[in-house]
């Protein structure tokens, strides 16, 4: 479906391609000014010695002290570990819920459109708004979660979900996964529409069970979309800020301190822009390596 080059005489083509570049200019300018330049600036800040909030007041010279602190202290590696825990803890339930819903909603029934729109609503909810409602639901004394679990006899005493180091990670994952699952649902719904129904008929004729139909017809049709949406979700949750920051600010202790939260706190709470920038570059490198490794693995398994 991709467009072929403009046909016709050579003169036409070159005038056309000038027009093509002209249309692209605003996007290029935006990217250069607000992505490339900030990246370079982040690199410079990360190499500027000392602790500063305004680089104008920083001591002159270059130094690797911030990187030394990132690489040789337990803190940044702990942040990284918790970031991965948070990312996969959020993606796994969102993926399964998204897939389950897409399959459930596949066959038409009366009112399906409305129900589908309703179930996808969390996607439109601002992250911090989702955080506040989960903060309320997880409240130790008034929260509905404790109330329901106590009522069902699943809990003997109320839990302070966001203050207990054993439950806090799950409690920040809950709103993250809740906002994330509709993305998976939408992508899987779109991908399911593209699978020809004849394939199922053929499979049924061959006597394939529901499970076998899923394995041999549905899943092959979803695989590529599943990979891409998981990748997008990985990058999104890896930099996610809107849930942990309002809920715990990384606490209690450092139990929910991810790289994204630490970068912000180091910069704007401890006025240590240089260290924050070094942490940022560290997280960029980690994300890039993770994407490259999985892309390669994915390519190899489809080839």
């Amino acid at each position: 479906m991709t467009a072929t080059g403009a046909g016709g005489a050579g003169l036409r083509v070159s005038r056309d391609s000038l027009f093509g570049y002209l249309l692209l200019t605003p996007a290029v300018a935006l990217l250069a000014l607000l992505i490339v330049y900030p990246l370079i600036l982040a690199l410079i800040l990360s190499l500027t010695p000392g602790r500063f909030l305004n680089p104008a007041t920083a001591p002159p010279g270059l130094s690797l002290e911030h990187y030394r602190r990132v690489l040789f202290s337990i803190q940044a590696w702990g942040d990284l570990l918790r970031s991965f825990l948070y990312v996969f803890g959020s993606i796994a339930p969102a993926f399964l819920t998204g897939l389950g819903l897409a399959l459930l909603f596949r066959q038409p029934f009366r009112g399906r459109r409305w129900l589908r729109t309703t179930v996808l609503l969390p996607w439109a909810v601002p992250g911090v708004a989702a955080s506040t409602v989960f903060l309320w639901m997880f409240d130790a004394s008034f929260g509905i979660v404790n109330k329901i679990l106590l009522g069902l006899g699943l809990l003997a005493a109320p839990i302070a979900w966001l203050a207990d180091t054993r439950t806090v990670m799950a409690a920040v994952i809950a709103p993250t996964a809740w906002k994330l699952f509709p993305l998976f649902t939408m992508v899987f719904m779109a991908a399911l529409q593209a699978i020809p129904l004849e394939l199922y008929e053929a499979a049924r004729v061959d006597g394939a069970s529901i499970g076998a139909q899923f394995r041999h017809v549905t899943w092959p049709g979803l695989r590529v979309s599943a990979y891409i949406v998981t990748l997008i979700a990985f990058l999104g949750v890896f930099r996610e800020f809107d849930f942990i920051f309002p809920l715990t600010s990384g606490g209690p202790g450092r139990s929910t301190m991810t790289l994204a939260i630490d970068i912000f706190l180091q910069a704007f709470q401890y006025s240590d822009l240089g260290y924050a920038a070094a942490l940022g570059i560290f997280s960029l490198v980690v994300a890039t390596v993770a994407v490259l490794v999985t892309t390669r693995a994915m390519r190899r398994s489809t080839a």
């Binding site: 708004a129 903060l135 992508v187 890039t288």
Partner: protein, 278 residues
């Protein structure tokens, strides 16, 4: 007999759809119910699923004691401002990437794709320094620009997907009729890709409206905050007033819910066409 069991299965599936949907939207319902409950219910821990009395007093107090109108204005400027700028840029760029496939275009397409990988949490540090130097801290324009940067790569690829699906012959027919390239774009391509533009516009607006990180970093005075920063400022305030927080949450959620309901059909089509395929 066979028919009956098939209709039972269908009934069970519909019941499952309804059940899962109710469970998953429960947090939104709980937000609504808490916002319209009288404060005394919260004090006496009367937390029945259906409130005995419904009142809008909470909202009146919200508007009275907080600059909620300013917050709503800032959120509107932010989301519509970044959405319109990024749509303009992305329509041009997406069309260009769809119709021109030279080396330069391939590189640019890849650069746009890669820029989606950048963590916003990394860029927040240099952004702060840049806008500090420009004197744009506490100026909504800074957040509009930053949000635009994050919207353009996604919107461009989404729109490129839509433009790819429109046959070139339609444009060429317009050229033959004497229309220029720009005219062909505005009068042939744009009307045909209305669903894609609707999807991109919805995505952009929801992104700008929901932004918290950049607004929290770049806007310092409370009157200049959007609703997202406003809500979070309530947390921990004198014993956490749930009535107000949920009211504020509802104010932040409702406009986006309406927008989503209106545009949902196009969003799925948009994801099919380009959003994830790219």
């Amino acid at each position: 007999m066979k028919l009956k069991s098939r209709s039972t299965v269908k009934g069970l599936r519909i019941a499952a759809c309804v059940g899962v949907t109710v469970a998953l939207v429960f947090p939104l319902y709980w937000m609504l119910v808490t916002a319209v409950r009288p404060t005394r219910d919260l004090l006496t821990m009367d937390l029945s699923i259906i409130p005995s009395t419904i009142t809008l007093d909470g909202f009146a107090a919200l508007f009275k004691y907080n600059p909620v109108t300013s917050w709503l204005r800032v959120s509107t400027v932010l989301s519509l401002g970044s959405a319109s700028i990024s749509l303009l840029i992305s329509i041009f760029a997406g069309y260009s990437l769809s119709r021109f496939t030279g080396r330069g275009h391939q590189v640019m397409g890849l650069a746009l794709l890669l820029s989606r990988m950048l963590p916003g949490s990394l860029l927040v540090v240099p952004f702060y320094v840049i806008f500090l130097r420009l004197g744009l801290i506490d100026n909504v324009l800074s957040v509009v620009l930053v949000d635009t940067v994050f919207i353009v790569p996604f919107a461009t690829w989404l729109l490129k997907g839509f433009f790819d699906g429109i046959p070139r012959e339609l444009e060429e027919a317009a050229w033959v009729d004497g229309a220029g390239r720009i005219r062909a774009l505005t009068s042939v391509i744009l009307p045909l890709s209305a669903p894609g533009i609707a999807a991109a516009a919805t995505y952009s607006t929801i992104f700008g409206w929901g932004d918290f990180l950049f607004a929290r970093t770049l806007l310092t005075t409370d009157r200049n905050w959007p609703v997202t920063v406003g809500i979070v400022s309530f947390i921990g305030d004198n014993g956490t007033d749930w009535n107000s927080i949920m009211g504020m949450g509802l104010i932040a959620v409702l406009p986006m819910m309406v927008l989503f309901i209106l545009a949902e059909r196009h969003l799925i089509a948009g994801l099919t066409a380009g959003g994830v395929k790219g």
